[in-house]
């Protein structure tokens, strides 16, 4: 297969001289993996028809039919950032697809000073369980910036979708009927700081509907709550099919031996992902089965806590030549994709997790996956059917051994996992959910 994108060409050029690497050279290379130093140019979002070969023509035709009835309807998406973060990434893909099916969708970003974003960052953490003392000053800053944005923006669309807590108070004093207001909450509200949630809840309950990413992230509300799983784009750099030559080149670059089983965890260096626990599990498993461990992550260069965790991970790994630790910049999507595809098993042994999109990525690639039963992971991994759930280092070690020695069962898990993602966690499913919700809301189906 020919390289498909400019960045893939760059990657191939960078990797072109290392098709065969001897063992000592491989170990040497590990110490200083080469990755390009600046992000590649952004890739334009795919068009709907490009998904036909992945999800099937019938599914795309269904989407188009659903959209026909909504032709000319208008939607506004509002969030707090245009770049960086999962919400902006998702909107960058969703908005063009909705416009393509003639549901005219605008995307606006709220503005605010440092004071506002400091308050909203604190709210964000507090809503996910951190300690926080809500002051009158914080309330005033939050409300003032929401009011200023409300005065600046116009809400003439049929459906207004507000993403996350930062702009949640835009609904206050806005004209509601006949348009419908939806609050899309991307964070876990299962254990919120009561003061902050008590402050935000009256705004949330003015909406016509709320959307959460997992059943377990919700609160009891007086408005209808819908479940929209986060999704991945199967055509993105992170998830598209790769030529095996490229996968081999990436493995050579990082000193990974594809002739032996590869166990991989992809996640930033964060204690919530239990990277040290993964190394302990791997060391226990390796007493019985030959394998290598790849710990591929990032966040150590710009985050002091990440650097501390990386240090702990390196200490835990010691001098074990079978453990390969990669601290990658955030734009290495193609390399991450290649590492996942090269892996025999993927581990995501989180002890706290959001939805866990790295699990979705692993399942999409048909990889047998072992993951902690936290956050949104149980939505993706049905134990022993689409992967395996673990609750301890020992459980993780056992499952690594078991899956490496039962390849038929592991293969079946991988196949089921792939189908599960195809059915529930792809961008096209997300478009279908939005079209359905808009249709239901405009037909007066909620509240």
């Amino acid at each position: 297969m020919e390289p498909q994108t400019e960045s893939e060409v760059v990657a191939r050029e960078n990797h072109s001289d290392i098709n065969t690497v001897s063992s000592p050279a491989r170990e040497e290379r590990r110490k200083k993996p080469r990755t390009w130093e600046t992000p590649p140019a952004p890739v334009p979002p795919p068009r709907l028809d490009e998904y036909r070969s992945i999800v099937g023509a019938a599914d795309i035709d269904e989407l188009k039919f659903l959209a026909q009835a909504l032709k000319g309807k208008t939607v506004k998406m509002v969030n707090s950032t245009a770049v960086g973060g999962g919400v902006a990434e998702m909107l960058n893909q969703l908005v063009p697809l909705l416009n393509e099916v003639e549901v005219k969708t605008d995307w606006e970003v709220i503005t605010g000073g440092n004071d506002f974003f400091e308050v909203t960052k604190a709210f964000h953490n507090a809503l996910q369980g951190s300690d926080y003392k809500l002051t009158q000053q914080a309330r005033d800053i939050f409300l003032m910036h929401n009011r200023k944005n409300r005065q600046r923006m116009q809400f003439s669309e049929d459906v207004v979708v507000i993403h996350d807590p930062q702009p949640a108070a835009l609904i206050q004093d806005s004209e509601k009927s006949p348009r419908r207001w939806v609050w899309r909450c991307h964070i876990d509200l299962s254990n919120p700081n009561p003061e902050v949630w008590g402050f935000l809840r009256p705004f949330v309950e003015q909406y016509d509907a709320a959307i959460f990413s997992s059943q377990s992230f919700t609160r009891q509300l007086q408005i209808p709550q819908y479940l929209f799983y986060p999704c991945i784009d199967p055509l993105s750099e992170k998830n598209k099919n790769l030529d095996d030559t490229f996968v081999q080149q990436v493995c050579d670059e990082f000193g990974i031996d594809r002739s032996r089983p590869i166990v991989t965890q992809v996640s930033r260096f964060d204690r919530a992902k239990d990277p040290v626990g993964v190394i302990q599990a791997f060391k226990q498993a390796r007493k019985y089965v030959d394998c290598q461990l790849v710990m591929a992550g990032g966040g150590a260069s710009d985050d002091p806590e990440g650097a501390a965790v990386l240090k702990e991970v390196k200490e835990a790994a010691g001098e074990d030549p079978n453990i390969i630790i990669l601290d990658l910049p955030p734009w290495c999507a193609l390399e991450i994709n290649a590492l996942q595809r090269a892996s025999t098993l993927i581990v995501q042994k989180s002890i706290k997790e959001g939805f866990g999109l790295t699990v979705t990525e692993a399942l999409w690639k048909g990889k047998p996956t072992i993951a902690g039963a936290v956050g949104g992971i149980p939505n993706q991994i049905i134990h022993k059917l689409t992967g395996v759930l673990v609750h301890s280092v020992e459980g993780c070690a056992y499952q690594i051994r078991y899956l490496l020695t039962h390849p038929d069962f592991a293969k079946q898990l991988g196949q089921n996992g792939h189908e599960h993602v195809k059915e529930n966690f792809l961008m096209t499913t997300n478009v279908r959910r939005w079209l359905l919700l808009i249709k239901i809301l405009l037909a007066g189906g909620s509240k």
Partner: protein, 226 residues
Amino acid sequence: MSSAVAPNLPHTSVKPFYFNTSAHLLRITQQKANTLAEFLDALRECPEGSIFQHSFQTLEEHHFIREGFSNDFAHWVLSACNEPSLAEGLASVDVREFTSVAELRERFVQIVENFLSRTSAAATRSARETFYFCASDSIVIPTTFVARTLREFAEGLRSVSVHSIHHHFIEARLRIKLMSNDFSQWLLEDIGLTEAARQLNRIDIYTGTLEDVRNQIVRIVERALI
């Protein structure tokens, strides 16, 4: 109805079969359960849409699993409550034996009640994970496939999505209130193929994927074409 069968053309109906499909949006309801006692209460009180979601609809969402998955209730009872005998009882409920959600709910309630009457200590034991009752908001969507002949019918069966197969073959009984499905009804009433209609109703939906079910349906229809 057999009177609708075209008299001169073999396997041609004057009443075409329109392939539809349905799309579902998941709503999170107020009910949840952390113990089997709470589960039983919620089973009794939840909206009918929740019973539909966790039995009929979940089969569609997990259509790719060949064995070991029947409904969300059985799965939770096994994985979160570690009660295999209750899980087996719940898993044995075949949605095709019910033409109304109310009857189906009654069956699930009866199984849990019987279990708890024998094993009362299990009622208040905490489950490892909460069961959240969801419900579906559904919309029926037409497809581009229409069959006027048996050959076109087979072609439609091969081409539509598995969601359409689920809509006509599994969900249909709640709509037509018969222990049958849309495909069998059309074969029986509009084409006059009694045996093929009967064979379709004997396909086991719990021991294969929905794609396997589609293939079995296609094979039966193709045999009728010969």
